[in-house]
Amino acid sequence: MAATEDEHRHDPGGTDVKMTNNELRTYLDHVDQLLDAPAPGRRRLLEEVEGHLCDAIDHRVATGMDPTAATRAAIEEFGPPSEAALGLSDTPEETATGWTHWLPIAVPFLLTAIAVIGAAYYATKLPDSSTAGERAAVRTYIQSTLLLGGITSAGWFWLRHHRRPRIVSPAWLATVAALAVLVI
């Protein structure tokens, strides 16, 4: 089996070999792009999938199938990249779904809304005769509000692009950061 694998990977002459490598690499790249798993486990998963597919290809080649057809059959059996990535992604027990998915963004969103209303109030109600200290305080308040809004937006974008995030996610960090901004 190892010899067959070496032929697949290192024989520079065969068109079939190049096609096999290209198809396999393209498939693995797609899975990689769609895979929702943290870095260390992600690399291991991808290496295992590659090994698995190479074994599956070798198995078919050993039964007389040509390498290109064997690669396609192995990939087909593993499933489309989206399904494979979903299967390979973290288990449901480790991921947040439904309202728990959006929970980490709820707190910073609420705080931002309150801060924006407060900033608008101070900005419109501040009298022309206000002191430099009062103006500085309002400026700081508005800057904090913008920072809070930025953190909230970052958390929201992160959640939107991770349909099955881990429960302990960067969105929770946004919550903590938002609270820290509020306290400071």
Partner: protein, 107 residues
Amino acid sequence: MAQDRIRGHLNALLLATLVDGPAHGYALAQSLRIASDGQLAIPEGSLYPALRRLEDEQLVESQWDTTTNRRRRIYEITARGKETLTEERRQWRQLKTSIDTILGEPT
């Protein structure tokens, strides 16, 4: 439908297959397929997370196979895994008896 049935018992099936000896992912999938005469085709994408869960629970342990150029992770059942398998088998027999009682051939 068959895949849904497998999912609930995947851990036990993997442990039972590993009792025969250490194996890598592809070999495990093939063993299950052959042993079940093609009836138990594991969704291959879910195989590795399942193995990872078993490893997290210390029911199996794994290491990279360094004897070939290929990156293969070899899984081996632990003593704790064998105990869990015994318990899983007991629960399965119990469940099977209960279901047989209800779904068995009418007398």
